[in-house]
């Protein structure tokens, strides 16, 4: 084998390996949606179980074409803010890069991974609004969140040329900000306009527990979606390829899957144990705590000492329940699965702990090192990127009477009234 042949062989293998790696990360991420679907359907009362599932499936189905139409282009075009950069057509759906092309082994596979990230944001939002949002309204909002809002945040804070990265050294390697905070705060904005399910609050302001029909389905779903998150987190690393440099994080700095798996598992474990203790053994909160434990570690998933990740997980597990209670008592929202607390609150904490405990961590190239102010500013931006469109668009939809299922249909049960189906038969 000549040196030239060896070079071709190594490059080919690196490209094929990269494709295979992100292919399987994408496949694993589908399991996130299996988990979210089980989780949400279990948290739904029996009369609305089918419609909750349909809603979740539709978000998945609509995200794929819309992310192909404009989501991927938004990521590439807006790293500088609100003014798009000239990509000479790259990323547009009629560009040759967005289809079968022998010289491009990267675009399709990265588009797919990002599409599944987008689907994840929609699933996060989905659980919070079950049993009273119109299916068409939810689908529209899910597309706005997944194919516009989160990806704009990702362009600012995840893209190596994003303005939050290049100006403030924003460090958010596993998307605590651009996925979890944005999705959680978008859900919060919508919840304020959507209102609670019938029967959630009494006239004196006290709340009632509207129990889902299957706690078992919910917590098995939660455990299932953690399997899927291994695909999500794996997709947050950049394949080393043939440059002999090994893995890098999304910003081009050296990182390893080993560090990711140390901190994912330790954060998960801490969150489960913390929530077990705080909730006195409620498995719903225990598994939600596990997720929150991952999310609070996510911004610095490449850098934490695993014992510290465990302690962060404990904090997340203990925070989610009082944070959820505070949001319900203060704003009278009805977040059926605690998504604002689990994803929004713990996502923000995840960004801030990098500023507190990993300030000065170096980045690649001209990107400044991480700092507390950089993380604080970026956390505020991510929160606003999620909340403002969530609140604003759902407010307009509410005025147009295109947001909430009418009370009469809620009472009849959405499955029977709207879909002519029921989840369970004798």
């Amino acid at each position: 084998m000549t040196l030239e042949e060896l070079n071709v062989f190594v490059t080919t293998q690196a490209n094929v390996g990269m494709e295979a790696y992100y292919w399987w990360c994408t496949a694993l991420m589908v399991i996130i949606h299996v988990g979210f679907l089980m989780y949400e359907v279990g948290a739904t009362r029996m009369q609305n179980a089918v419609s909750s599932g349909v809603k979740n499936l539709l978000a998945f189905a609509f995200m794929i074409p819309t992310f192909w139409l404009f989501g991927w282009w938004i990521y590439l075009a807006f790293p500088g803010g609100f003014v798009p950069i000239d990509l000479e057509g790259y990323g547009a759906p009629w560009n040759t890069s967005m289809g079968p092309m022998l010289s491009d082994q990267a675009t399709g596979i990265f588009w797919a991974a990002f599409t599944l990230f987008a689907c994840t944001t929609a699933s996060i939002f989905s659980g919070s609004v079950i049993e009273r949002i119109r299916i068409s309204s939810f689908t529209f909002l899910a597309v706005i969140l997944g194919s516009v809002v989160w990806i704009l945040g990702a362009s600012w804070g995840w893209h190596p040329d994003g303005w939050l990265v290049t100006r403030f050294g924003f460090h958010d390697v596993a998307a605590a900000g651009c996925v979890h905070t944005i999705a959680g705060l978008f859900a919060f904005g919508v919840l304020l306009n959507l209102g609670p399910r019938i029967g959630k609050y009494n006239e004196d302001g006290t709340a009632n527990d509207l129990e889902g029909h299957s706690l078992v389905l919910s917590f098995v779903g939660l455990l299932t979606l953690i399997v899927g998150f291994f695909g999500f987190l794996g997709g947050c690393l950049i394949w080393g390829g043939a440059d002999l440099g090994g893995w890098t994080n999304i910003y081009g700095a050296p990182a390893t899957l080993s560090s990711f798996v140390f901190n994912t598992l330790m954060g998960l474990s801490g969150g489960m144990i913390g929530a077990f203790w705080w909730s006195k053994g409620n498995p719903f909160w225990m598994m939600s705590g596990g997720l929150a434990g991952i999310f609070i570690c996510a911004s610095g998933l490449d850098i934490w000492y695993p014992g510290f990740a465990f302690l962060l997980g404990i904090v997340a597990g203990c925070v989610i329940i009082p944070a959820n209670n505070f949001l319900h008592n203060t704003f009278k929202i009805d977040d059926c699965v605690g998504a604002v607390s689990i994803h929004g609150v713990c996502g923000i904490l995840g960004m801030l702990v990098v500023g507190l405990f990993a300030s000065g961590y170096p980045a690649a190239g001209d990107i400044p090192p991480s700092s507390f102010m950089g993380q604080l500013i970026s956390a505020c931006v991510m929160a606003l990127v999620g909340f403002v469109p969530g609140y604003g668009i759902s407010f307009i939809m509410k005025q147009a009477d295109w947001l909430r299922v009418p009370d009469s249909v809620q009472k009849a049960g959405i499955d029977k009234a709207e879909l002519g189906l029921q989840a369970y038969h004798n």
Partner: protein, 57 residues
């Protein structure tokens, strides 16, 4: 834009291959079709929901 098929029924020189959709205009037309389906289905679902609401008053 579309380099398929290569000369002499081969893969030589082939890069992008969009088979019969071999023009920017055709790709834009197909894209508009995708947009129309996505918007149309959401509108149809909204109409069905409005009818259901009417029937359950």
């Amino acid at each position: 834009m579309n380099t398929w098929p290569g000369p002499d029924n081969s893969w030589e020189g082939v890069d992008a291959y969009f088979t019969w959709a071999d023009s920017p205009g055709m790709l834009v037309l197909i894209t508009l079709g995708v947009v129309a389906v996505c918007v149309g289905i959401i509108v149809a679902a909204a109409k069905h929901e409005a009818e259901t609401a009417e029937n359950n008053k």
